[in-house]
C-alpha cells in the first residue's frame, strides 16, 4: 500500500522458524559440530573457569555452613528466611520456562519450540539442581533432612503432611525426576546421532551407552513418539503445579504479605517470566558464538519476548491487585504491610522492583526492541534481577514487620549469603558450559522435523 513504511512492514512479517536452505545433513552437522568438531575456545574456557571458581566458592560456603550452622547467614527472628529461600524460589521459577517449552508448547504443536527446548530443558535441570540444594542447606539440622521424606521408619513417624514444605518435597522431587527423564528421553535419538558422528572411541562408547541402542527404526520411532507425548502430558501440569506449591509456602502462612490467594497464578506467571528471561540470556550468546542463528532465529527470540511481555503483565496485574485488595480489605495488617513496602526501610528495593519488573520490560511492546538481540539480552538480565527482588520483597519485608511491632526486625545479608548465591550461579554456569560441549544443545531430530524434506508424502 502506498505510504506504508516498507521497513516496518517487513518487520511485521514473522521471521522464519529455521533458516533457509537447510538440509538434514546441514542441520545435523551444524549442531553436532559444536560438540564433536569445534576446538575448545578461549571464550569457553574463560566462561568455564568463572563457573568453576564460583562453584568452588559454593563448596567453601556450604562446608562452613555445615560446620558452624545457619547463623552464618543474616537470618534472625523474625526474618527466619532470607537469601536461601529467595534463591530457592528464584531458581525453581527459572526452571519453569524449560518445561513449558518442552512440554506445553509440544502439546500445543508450536513447532518453533524445537530449537530451544533442549537447552531450555537443560537449563531447567540445572536450575532445579541449584534450587534443590537450598531446602537442605537452610535447615538448622540438615543431616536430618531426610525426615522430610515419607519413608517407613522405626520411630513410627511420618512427615507432617499439612505443611507446605512437605508438599514442596513432593513437588520439587517430582519436578526434578520428570524433567530429567523427559530431557534424557528426548536426547536418546540425538545420542544415537552423536554415536554415529563421534570419532573419539571413548566418546563413541559413551554416546553409545546413552543412546540405549537406538536404531532409528520405524518401530522405535512409533513407540518413542508415544512416550514423548506421554511425558509431555505428565510434565505439563507440573509447570503450573510446582510453582503453585512453592507459592503455598507463603500463601498458607498467616503473615500479611504472604497470605493472599493471588499467589499461585502470580508465582507461576512470574516463574515463566523469569524462565524466559533466562532462556534468552542463554539463547542469545549461544546462537551467536556457536553460529546457530539459523536454528535459533529471530522468531524464537521474538516469541520469547512476547511471552515475557505477557507474563510480565500478569505479574503486574498481581502487583496491582495485591495492593488494591490489601487496601480495600480494611485489614490494618494488610494496609500497613503495603505502606511498609512503599515507604518503609526496604522501600528502595520495592521501587527498584517496580522499575525493573514492570516498567522497563514495557519497551518490549516495540517490535524493534523485540528484534534487537542486545536489547533483549539487557532486558532479560533486568527481568532476572527484578524477579529476584520480587522474592526478596515478598519474603523479607513481610517477615520483618508483621503483627506485633515489638518483634519487628531488619534483615541484612552476610557475605556467606552472597557467597552461597554466587556459588549456585557458578554451579549453573559451569553446568551450562559443560553441557554445551558434550551434549547437542539443540534437538537434532526435532529440527529435522521442521524441514520441508521431512514431510511425509501421502
Amino acid at each position: 500500500m502506498a505510504g506504508v513504511d516498507e521497513k516496518n512492514l517487513a518487520l511485521l512479517d514473522e521471521p522464519p522458524v529455521i533458516g533457509p536452505g537447510q538440509t538434514f545433513d546441514s542441520v545435523t552437522d551444524t549442531i553436532t559440530d559444536v560438540v564433536l568438531k569445534r576446538p575448545i575456545g578461549l571464550g569457553w574456557l574463560a566462561g568455564l573457569a568463572v563457573g568453576m571458581s564460583l562453584l568452588g566458592l559454593l563448596g567453601v560456603a556450604v562446608t562452613y555452613l555445615f560446620l558452624r550452622g545457619v547463623g552464618i547467614w543474616g537470618i534472625e527472628i523474625p526474618v527466619g528466611w532470607g537469601f536461601a529461600i529467595i534463591n530457592f524460589v528464584w531458581w525453581i521459577g527459572i526452571g519453569h520456562a524449560g518445561t513449558l517449552i518442552s512440554a506445553i508448547l509440544l502439546l500445543f504443536k508450536q513447532t518453533w519450540r524445537n530449537s530451544i527446548n533442549r537447552f531450555a530443558e537443560a537449563m531447567t535441570l540445572f536450575a532445579v539442581a541449584c534450587a534443590g540444594m537450598f531446602p537442605l542447606l537452610h535447615m538448622g539440622r540438615p543431616w536430618l533432612g531426610y525426615w522430610m521424606f515419607p519413608y517407613p521408619n522405626s520411630m513410627g513417624v511420618w512427615p507432617q503432611f499439612r505443611s507446605p514444605l512437605v508438599w514442596d518435597v513432593f513437588a520439587v522431587s517430582t519436578y526434578a525426576t520428570i524433567s530429567a527423564v523427559f530431557w534424557f528421553v528426548g536426547l536418546v535419538p540425538d545420542f544415537a546421532t552423536m554415536r554415529e558422528g563421534a570419532t573419539n572411541p571413548f566418546a563413541r562408547k559413551v554416546y553409545g551407552m546413552l543412546s540405549l541402542g537406538w536404531r532409528g527404526s520405524a518401530r522405535h520411532w512409533t513407540r518413542y513418539e508415544a512416550l514423548y507425548i506421554l511425558l509431555a502430558g505428565i510434565s505439563t501440569p507440573l509447570v503450573l503445579s510446582v510453582h503453585t506449591v512453592v507459592s503455598f509456602d507463603f500463601a498458607i502462612a498467616i503473615v500479611p504479605g504472604w497470605h493472599t490467594t493471588i499467589f499461585p497464578p502470580y508465582f507461576v506467571a512470574g516463574a515463566i517470566y523469569s524462565g524466559f528471561a533466562m532462556v534468552l540470556v542463554l539463547a542469545i550468546p549461544i546462537r551467536k558464538y556457536y553460529g546457530l542463528e539459523d536454528m535459533i532465529t529471530m522468531r524464537h527470540l521474538q516469541n520469547s519476548a512476547k511471552i515475557m511481555l505477557a507474563t510480565g503483565l500478569i505479574v503486574g496485574y498481581g502487583y496491582f491487585f495485591e495492593a488494591f485488595i490489601g487496601l480495600y480489605s480494611g485489614s490494618t495488617y494488610e494496609r500497613f504491610m503495603l505502606h511498609n513496602r512503599w515507604f518503609g526501610p526496604y522501600a528502595a528495593f520495592y521501587w527498584a522492583l517496580i522499575l525493573l519488573n514492570l516498567l522497563v520490560p514495557q519497551v518490549l511492546w516495540w517490535p524493534k526492541v523485540r528484534s534487537s538481540t542486545s536489547w533483549l539480552f539487557g532486558i532479560s538480565l533486568v527481568v532476572l534481577v527484578g524477579m529476584w527482588l520480587e522474592r526478596f520483597i515478598i519474603i523479607v519485608t513481610s517477615l520483618s514487620r508483621d503483627f506485633l511491632p515489638s518483634s519487628w526486625g531488619h534483615y541484612v545479608p552476610t557475605r556467606w549469603d552472597w557467597a552461597t548465591y554466587a556459588g549456585t550461579i557458578g554451579l549453573f554456569t559451569a553446568a551450562i558450559f559443560i553441557f554445551i560441549r558434550i551434549v547437542p544443545a539443540i534437538s537434532i531430530f526435532e529440527m529435522r522435523m521442521l524441514l520441508p524434506q521431512s514431510e511425509v508424502k501421502e
Binding site: P164, A253, T332, H339
Partner: protein, 1021 residues
C-alpha cells in the same frame, strides 16, 4: 598386713590404716606441696596398700607390681583429691534444714528446697533455693517471708554468679597462688604490731552491713583495737537518706512503706518498683494489690515526679519529668500546699502540683510520699514532714531502728579513710567485698591512696580492679555456699544456709574477720550459730531449726518507732540546698544505678547483661540517655558517640534518645566500663564512675558533645509507640488492639471496654468441629491457661531472668542480639503512648501463647511441634530439623531458634548449674516457652500418685513464681474455682491478636489507669 605381724603388739606393727585417717592426714596438709608430700609418705607406710585394696578394690586391682612413685601419684591422687566431693567423706556435721522435707536420703529427681537469704544492697533478699542432688539449681522468692514474696532480677541471676567460672578460685598474694594458712600466718605480724598502737593503723572497709553476726564480729575487732576504724562504703550510697532522717528527726531511722494502705502515692524520684530499690519486693506486691480496678474508688492513684525514666514512672497515672536537681523545688511546692514550709513550683508545673496537693489532702491518713535515694537530704526531710502532715505515720509509713548495723555518713568516712591512707597512717587495710578502686568517687583517687598502705588485703567473690591494688586476695564464698545472716528491710533477721560446699575452698566474710581475732579454725557455721545461741531465747535447737526452715528468725522484726519531725527544721534548709547542683547552661548529668547490673557487682553475669533493660530494652551496654528535644537541640541522634565532660573528667558513650527524659539533662548508668571483670563484663559499656565525684554524687553539671557515630546498641525491641506507625499513611498500632486500656471512670461505665472494636472469630468457625458444631477435641483432662494482669506488671524483667534460669536458656552476646537472635523465651514488651516528651508506658510479658489453633503446628514439615491433650503446644527438640517455618508463622514471634551453637558444652560449672529437668538444646533446633512443662509433669505425677487432680496453685510456672507483683497466674481452666478461670471470666480479659483466631491460652487483663479528672490524661502532668 603380712602374716608375720599377726599377734604382735601395736607398738611393733602399725594398726590397720583407715581411709578416714588417711583423708584426715591429707586434709591437714595446708598447701599444695605439703599435700603431695603427705601422699608420698603415705605410700611408704605399711598397711597403705592393704588399705588401698580394701577401700578401692577396683583401682587396686589394676595396680601394677613394682609401681613407681609417679604411677602412684597418677592413680591415687584423683581418688584422694575428689574425696572432698564424694558423698561418703566424713565432714564435720553441719546439718542444714530443708524447707519441706527432713534431710533423709535424697530421692533422685525430686528436688529439695532450702530457705536462705541473699545479702544485697545492705539488706537481705529472702530466697528459697531449689537443690538437685546436692547442688543448687534455681533461686526463688520465699513465699512465707514477711518482708516480701517474689523475687528480683538479681536474686534470679545469683545462681549464675555462684557457678561463674570467672570467680576467684584461690587465695593469691600479688597474683601468686597461696593458701589460707599462708595468709593467716602472714597477717599475724601486722596485727600484732597494731596491738601496740591500739589498732591506729588498722582499717576495715566493708559494704553496708546488716548482718548481726558480722557486725558483732567487727565490733569485737574494734574492741580489741579501739583506734581502728570500720568504714562502710556503698557506691549506691544512701547517705542522703540518712542525712534526711537526721535533718528531720535528729537520728537515723529506717523508713518503710505500706503501699497497700495508700490511696494516693507520690514518689519524688523514688523508683520503688525497680529491682534494686530497698524494699522492692514488698512494694511491688503492695502496689499491685491496690491497682485492681474492681476496687473502684479504692484503686490507688500514683503520681511520680521523676528524672530518669524508669519502669516505676511508667506505671504512674501522672508523671512529671524534671531534672534530678529540680525535684526539690516541686517537693517544696507540694509541702507548702500541705502546710509544711514554703515554696512554689515553676509556672508550667503548678497545675500538676495543685491537683496533686488536693488529692493528697483528700486522702489524709491514706496517702504516702516517697523520696528517692538519689535526692538530696532536704527532699527526704520534706517527705518525712509531709507524711507527718498527712497523718500517715503508722499507717502507710513506718519508722524503725536502722536495719544496717552501723549507720554512718559513708562518704565522709570514706574520705577520711582516703586522707588517712594518703597521710600514710594506714598500715593494714582489709577490704571485705566491694570494689572501691572501681567505684569510689573519682576525686578521691582511691587506688593511688590504697597504694600507700603497707599491707592490703581484699576478700571478694570475684577478682576485680581492686585486686590489682591489693597484696592478698582471699577468694570469698558466695552466699549460696556459706552460713551467715542478714536483715530484711523490716529488720527481720534471715539466716543464710549453704546449698553446697564451697566450690573453691573459699572463706566467708565471717571466717575472714574471725582470723583477725579468734582462731582461724572457726567455721562460719560455728560463728553464726554461736552468735544466735546468745540471742535466741528458750530452747535453742528447735528455734534454730525453725529459723533455718522458715528462712527468718521469728520475732526479730523491728518494732515501729515513734519519731516526730523536729519542729521548724524546714526554714533551716537553704532554698536550694547545698551540694549537688546541675544548672543551665550546662546539662545536668544524672547518675543512676543500672537496672540490671546494679552498681557493677553483676557485670560478669551474662544473664543480666543480656536482659533487656526495663523501658529502653537496651542490653550489653549502658547508654547515655537524653530527651528527644535536647538531642535535636544539640544535633545528636541515637547511636552517636558522645563525650560527656564533668568538670574536666571525660568519658565516651553511645547516645540513646529516651522518651520521657527531662530536657537539658543526660543520664549515665553506673556499673559498666569494667577493666577487670571476667570474660563477660570486661570492656562493656563506659565507666560512669569516672565522672562521679564525692561532692556531686547523684547529679552534676556537664557538657555533651558528639565525637563519632554508629555506636551500635543491642536492642531487641527499640521504641514502639502504640499510637504511631512510623510509616507515612499507615495506620497506627492502636488498631491492632495490642494494649487495651481505659481510665477507671470509663471502666466503671463500660466494663467491657477491652472487647470493643475487635473480636475473636466465634469458636464455631472451624473446620475441626463435629456435625453439631462441637469441637472435635474436648480438653477433658487439665486445660492449662495463663492470665497476665497488665495492671500489676511493673516491667521489672524478673520473670525473664527466672525463665532463663529455669529452662537452661543460652546467652548469645551483644553481636548476636544486634542480629536479632536473642534467645529469651519470655520477653516483656514495652509500648509508649502519647509522644516522646512524657509518654505513658505499658508492659506486656509475652510467653508462648499456647494457641489452641496454633499457626506454628500446621506448617512444621516434620511434626516437631504438636499439641498436647492438655492444651500445650509441645516443642519436640529432637524431631526439629530447623526449617524455621513455625517461627515465621507465629504472629507473636515467641519462638527462638538456635542459629549457632550457643550452649556451652564444656564449662564444668554450667553442667552443675543447669536444671536437669529441661533438655539443653543444640544448634539448629527451635525452642520456646513450654508453660514450664517440667513443673506441670511434676505436679501431674504427684497428683496421680495420690489419686487426685492437680490442685490450683500446685503447679507454678517459673515466671509466675518469680514475679514480685504477682502479675502472672497459671492454672487449670477446667477447674472453675481456679484463680486463672476467674481471671479468664473477668471483663478485662482479652487475647492478644485474637482476631487471627489463634485462640491463645495466654490472655491478658487490660490496663486501667486512674488519672485525676482535673489533669488531662493526655497531659499526663
Amino acid at each position: 598386713m603380712d602374716n608375720k605381724s599377726q599377734g604382735k603388739s601395736e607398738a611393733v606393727c602399725p594398726s590397720k590404716l583407715e581411709l578416714a585417717e588417711v583423708r584426715d592426714k591429707l586434709a591437714r596438709a595446708k598447701s599444695g606441696p605439703q599435700y603431695w608430700r603427705s601422699l608420698e609418705e603415705l605410700a611408704q607406710t605399711e598397711g597403705f596398700f592393704e588399705m588401698v585394696h580394701r577401700e578401692f578394690p577396683r583401682q587396686a586391682s589394676v595396680w601394677p607390681e613394682g609401681a613407681s612413685r609417679r604411677d602412684f601419684m597418677k592413680l591415687m591422687t584423683a581418688s584422694m583429691a575428689l574425696a572432698g566431693l564424694s558423698a561418703c567423706v566424713k565432714q564435720p556435721v553441719e546439718p542444714i534444714v530443708p524447707y519441706v522435707r527432713q534431710p533423709e536420703p535424697i530421692v533422685l529427681g525430686i528436688p529439695l528446697y532450702f530457705a536462705s537469704a541473699m545479702p544485697f544492697g545492705g539488706y537481705a533478699t529472702p530466697v528459697l533455693v531449689e537443690s538437685h542432688e546436692g547442688r543448687p539449681t534455681k533461686v526463688e522468692g520465699n513465699p512465707d517471708h514477711p518482708a516480701g514474696v517474689g523475687s528480683d532480677v538479681f536474686a534470679q541471676a545469683s545462681i549464675l554468679d555462684m557457678y561463674d567460672p570467672d570467680r576467684s578460685q584461690a587465695v593469691t598474694y600479688t597474683g601468686f597462688i597461696r593458701s589460707w594458712s599462708d595468709f593467716a600466718t602472714a597477717v599475724k605480724g601486722p596485727l600484732n604490731s597494731q596491738t601496740a598502737v591500739q589498732g591506729a593503723g588498722l582499717r576495715i572497709l566493708t559494704r553496708t552491713v546488716s548482718s548481726p553476726t558480722l557486725a558483732a564480729q567487727l565490733n569485737a575487732v574494734l574492741a580489741v583495737y579501739p583506734q581502728a576504724k570500720w568504714v562502710q562504703y556503698d557506691p549506691l550510697s544512701r547517705d542522703n537518706v540518712r542525712a534526711g532522717a537526721q535533718l528531720a528527726f535528729g537520728q537515723y531511722v529506717e523508713t518503710r512503706y505500706a503501699l497497700d494502705k495508700a490511696d494516693t502515692i507520690l514518689s519524688l524520684d523514688g523508683d520503688f518498683l525497680s529491682s534494686g530499690y530497698p524494699g522492692f519486693l514488698l512494694y511491688a506486691r503492695q502496689f499491685a494489690s491496690r491497682r485492681s480496678p474492681e476496687l473502684k474508688e479504692k484503686m490507688s492513684r500514683f503520681y511520680m515526679v521523676e528524672s530518669t525514666p524508669t519502669n516505676t514512672g511508667g506505671k504512674a497515672d501522672h508523671r512529671l519529668p524534671v531534672r534530678a536537681s529540680e525535684v526539690e523545688q516541686v517537693a517544696r511546692a507540694v509541702a507548702a500546699g500541705l502546710g509544711v514550709g514554703g515554696g512554689s513550683a515553676k509556672p508550667e508545673q503548678q497545675k500538676f502540683v495543685a491537683a496533686l496537693v488536693k488529692d493528697l489532702q483528700a486522702h489524709k491518713g491514706a496517702a504516702v510520699v516517697i523520696a528517692g535515694d538519689n535526692q538530696p537530704p532536704a527532699v527526704h526531710a520534706l517527705a518525712h514532714a509531709m507524711n507527718q502532715a498527712l497523718g500517715v505515720v503508722g499507717a502507710t509509713v513506718f519508722y524503725t531502728d536502722p536495719v544496717e548495723a552501723k549507720p554512718q555518713d559513708q562518704t565522709a568516712a570514706l574520705k577520711e579513710l582516703v586522707d588517712d591512707m594518703n597521710a600514710g597512717k594506714v598500715d593494714l587495710l582489709l577490704i571485705v567485698g566491694g570494689n572501691p578502686v572501681y567505684d569510689a568517687p573519682a576525686d578521691l583517687k582511691f587506688g593511688d591512696a590504697m597504694g600507700k598502705v603497707q599491707l592490703r588485703v581484699q576478700h571478694s567473690v570475684f577478682q576485680n580492679e581492686t585486686t590489682d591494688f591489693a597484696h592478698w586476695h582471699i577468694n570469698a564464698t558466695h552466699y549460696l555456699e556459706q552460713w551467715g545472716d542478714a536483715r530484711t528491710i523490716d529488720g527481720t533477721a534471715a539466716l543464710i544456709q549453704p546449698l553446697i560446699a564451697p566450690l573453691y575452698d573459699g572463706k566467708s566474710e565471717y571466717e575472714f574477720i574471725e582470723a583477725l581475732t579468734g582462731s582461724s579454725a572457726s567455721t562460719s557455721y560455728e560463728i553464726v550459730r554461736t552468735y544466735w545461741q546468745g540471742k535466741m531465747t528458750g530452747d535453742f535447737e528447735p528455734a534454730w531449726r525453725r529459723a533455718l526452715h522458715d528462712g527468718f528468725v521469728a520475732g526479730t522484726a523491728y518494732p515501729a518507732k515513734a519519731v516526730t519531725a523536729k519542729s521548724g527544721f524546714i526554714p533551716t534548709l537553704s532554698p536550694a540546698s547545698a551540694g549537688d547542683k546541675g544548672g543551665a547552661p550546662n546539662l545536668e548529668v544524672m547518675f543512676r544505678r543500672d537496672p540490671t547490673i546494679y552498681d557493677g557487682t553483676f557485670s560478669n553475669n551474662a544473664w543480666l547483661q543480656e536482659t533487656a533493660k526495663p523501658m529502653t530494652s537496651i542490653c550489653w551496654d549502658n547508654a547515655v540517655q537524653m530527651s528527644v528535644k535536647t538531642a535535636e537541640k544539640l544535633g545528636l541522634k541515637t547511636e552517636d558517640v558522645v563525650e560527656i565532660d564533668v568538670n574536666g573528667r571525660k568519658v565516651k558513650g553511645g547516645l540513646w534518645r529516651t522518651p520521657g527524659h527531662p530536657d537539658d539533662a543526660v543520664t549515665v548508668f553506673l556499673g559498666y566500663g569494667r577493666t577487670k571483670s571476667g570474660r563477660v563484663g570486661t570492656d562493656v559499656g563506659f565507666n560512669a564512675y569516672a565522672l562521679r565525684t564525692s561532692d556531686a554524687f547523684y547529679f552534676a553539671g556537664g557538657k555533651v558533645s558528639k565525637v563519632g557515630d554508629g555506636y551500635g546498641f543491642a536492642n531487641p525491641q527499640g521504641w514502639q509507640f502504640i499510637d504511631q506507625s512510623g510509616i507515612p499513611g499507615a495506620e497506627d498500632m492502636s488498631d491492632r488492639h495490642i494494649v487495651r486500656k481505659a481510665t477507671l471512670e470509663d471502666f466503671i461505665k463500660n466494663p467491657d471496654f477491652a472487647h470493643e472494636g475487635i473480636e475473636a472469630p466465634a469458636p464455631e468457625f472451624s473446620l475441626y468441629t463435629t456435625a453439631s458444631g462441637e469441637p472435635l477435641f474436648q480438653y477433658t483432662a487439665a486445660k492449662w491457661g495463663m492470665a497476665i494482669d497488665m495492671n500489676s506488671c511493673i516491667g521489672c524483667k524478673t520473670c525473664v531472668v527466672a525463665c532463663q534460669a529455669e529452662n537452661n536458656i543460652p546467652v548469645v552476646g551483644k553481636e548476636q542480639v544486634m542480629r536479632g537472635r536473642h534467645m529469651n523465651w519470655l520477653r516483656v514488651d514495652t509500648y509508649y503512648e502519647g509522644g516522646a516528651e512524657n509518654p505513658t508506658a505499658y508492659y506486656q510479658p509475652i510467653p508462648c501463647q499456647q494457641c489452641e489453633n496454633a499457626p506454628c503446628e500446621v506448617v512444621c514439615p516434620v511434626g516437631a511441634t504438636v499439641h498436647s491433650t492438655e492444651g500445650l503446644n509441645d516443642m519436640v527438640y529432637n524431631r526439629c530439623v530447623g526449617t524455621r517455618y513455625c517461627s515465621n508463622n507465629c504472629p507473636y514471634k515467641v519462638r527462638r531458634f538456635n542459629f549457632l551453637l550457643w550452649q556451652d558444652w564444656d564449662t564444668l560449672q554450667y553442667k552443675m548449674m543447669r536444671n536437669p529437668e529441661v533438655s539443653v538444646r543444640s544448634r539448629g533446633v527451635m525452642e520456646k516457652c513450654t508453660y514450664c512443662v517440667q513443673r506441670i509433669t511434676h505436679g501431674r505425677i504427684t497428683a496421680e500418685k495420690d489419686n487426685r487432680k492437680v490442685q490450683d496453685g500446685e503447679v507454678i510456672t517459673a515466671c509466675q513464681q518469680a514475679c514480685p507483683a504477682g502479675a502472672i497466674t497459671f492454672g487449670d481452666l477446667n477447674d472453675p474455682n481456679s484463680k486463672v478461670s476467674k481471671l479468664r471470666a473477668d471483663s478485662r480479659n482479652y487475647g492478644l491478636l485474637e482476631d487471627l483466631n489463634t485462640r491463645p491460652r495466654t490472655t491478658y487483663m487490660a490496663v486501667v489507669l486512674n488519672p485525676n479528672p482535673e489533669l488531662e490524661q493526655s497531659e499526663r502532668s
